[in-house]
């Protein structure tokens, strides 16, 4: 049977992708960001997942205001990196796992999480920057990816509690899949940041570090944070952190924290990163 072995949380700032793609990752400003992921890359290369379920948000790329799914699960064979207005990132095409994705869709929908199924979708920096941070610049991504795209642009995003419980349903789905696969789940976005208006540049390190502490030891407490508190305390785009709770819900409540990193800034954003491992099966 498939096993869900670990969770990786990380910010997905577009400028991180641009820095890497334009050969600036060695500059002191960016080195401070990338250095936080060196050990994590080694860890991921060592545990060799077959599939990564990657929770992220689309930034008005695959979805516009015409259609706004709250949760959209990618069930395609592959996903092309999108042109977000600057030309597409020079990264490999993302290969999917339609069989496992279809199984997850069937399982969680019958568990009363009404996902939208997507069979054709381009993917933006929300998905490819976490892959770059964790894998560097390979010719091919070293695992298949199942994108789970969450609406966090149109208010209201799903609640943290809903996200956490969806994560639990995803784990149940993975563990009922009959192939012997090693699966890792990524929760991406955050941490505190605001991109819009006169309050842009908002950063709340205290909030972020409290969030990281609770993510490790008391995730249920985080499921109770109301949207108003995210926006006021972590910035209007800090609300992306609800996506981390999907990944966290797929892990043991007492999952082991093996890696943590926090840095300000990457462009407009506080960068947060954590790896949590489930107890061995």
């Amino acid at each position: 049977m498939a096993k869900l072995i670990a969770g990786v949380m990380t910010s997905h700032v577009p400028a991180i992708g641009a820095a890497l793609d334009n050969g600036k990752s060695g500059e002191p400003y960016w080195q401070k960001v990338f250095s936080g992921y060196e050990e994590s890359k080694n860890w991921l290369a060592e545990i060799k997942p077959d599939v990564v379920i990657l929770v992220y948000n689309d930034h008005a790329t695959a979805f516009s205001l015409e259609i706004i799914p709250t949760f959209a699960l990618g069930c395609a064979d592959e996903y092309i990196p999108a042109d977000e207005g600057w030309g597409a990132r020079p990264v490999p095409v993302v290969k999917g796992d339609p069989d496992l994705a279809g199984h997850i869709a069937q399982s969680v929908i019958l568990d009363e999480f009404d996902l939208t199924i997507v069979n054709k979708m381009e993917v933006d920096h929300g998905l490819t920057v976490p892959l770059s941070l964790m894998c560097g610049q390979p010719k091919e991504w070293p695992f298949k990816v199942i994108p789970l795209c969450v609406n966090v642009i149109q208010y209201p995003p799903p609640t943290g509690n809903r996200c956490y419980n969806l994560g639990k349903a995803i784990r149940k789905a993975v563990e009922s899949y009959d192939k012997d696969l090693r699966v890792v789940i990524f929760g991406t976005g955050g941490m505190s940041h605001q991109l819009q208006g006169p309050r842009a540049g908002f950063i709340n390190s205290e909030f972020d570090n409290r969030f990281l502490d609770k993510l490790s030891t008391d995730p249920v407490a985080l499921t109770k944070i109301p949207h108003l508190e995210y926006i006021r305390e972590a910035g209007s785009e800090g609300i992306e952190m609800v996506m981390w709770l999907i990944a966290r819900g797929a892990l043991d409540e007492d999952a082991k924290e093996i890696r943590r990193f926090y840095h300000v800034p990457a462009s407009n954003t506080a960068v947060g990163h954590m790896i949590l491992e489930n107890a061995p099966y």
Partner: protein
């Protein structure tokens, strides 16, 4: 003028337009114009004759004016969403960070230095009541 917003609790957060259903309706055509700039062919047509390109989108006169004069905060007040207006920014060669500097009335260097120093503090920036005395 933009329609007064319903008194939601998040309307108390200063310098912030929460993109809810009301703003979605107000800003739909403005944002969909920005979305059209995802295609390079459209970006070229837009650059060649901006007013003519905008004729395709039934935006309000104020939205149109805000786009043509690149009033980034005004676009947000009129229902624009930053993930969409940033596509207009990209068309102009501006990154999210460049736009943030413009929207906060900073020079690019001042904004960069503020972020390196830890960003805009939550203290004094949580409630509109704290912004009353700002110039």
């Amino acid at each position: 003028m933009s329609t007064p917003h319903r008194p939601e609790p998040y309307e108390d957060i200063p310098g912030t337009q929460v993109f809810d259903a009301q703003r979605l309706r107000e800003g739909y055509h403005l944002n969909m114009f920005c979305m059209s700039l995802m295609k390079d062919a459209n970006r070229q047509v837009f650059r060649a004759d901006e007013p003519k390109y905008l004729d395709q989108f039934p935006m309000t006169a104020e939205q149109r004016e805000a786009v043509l004069t690149r009033q980034w905060n005004r676009m947000l007040e009129l229902g624009g969403n930053i993930y969409y207006t940033s596509k207009l920014g990209a068309t102009d060669g501006l990154s999210f960070q460049n736009l943030a500097a413009l929207m906060t009335g900073s020079t690019q260097e001042q904004y960069l230095q503020m972020m390196i120093a830890g960003g805009r503090s939550p203290n004094g920036n949580r409630s509109k009541s704290e912004w009353k005395n700002r110039g």
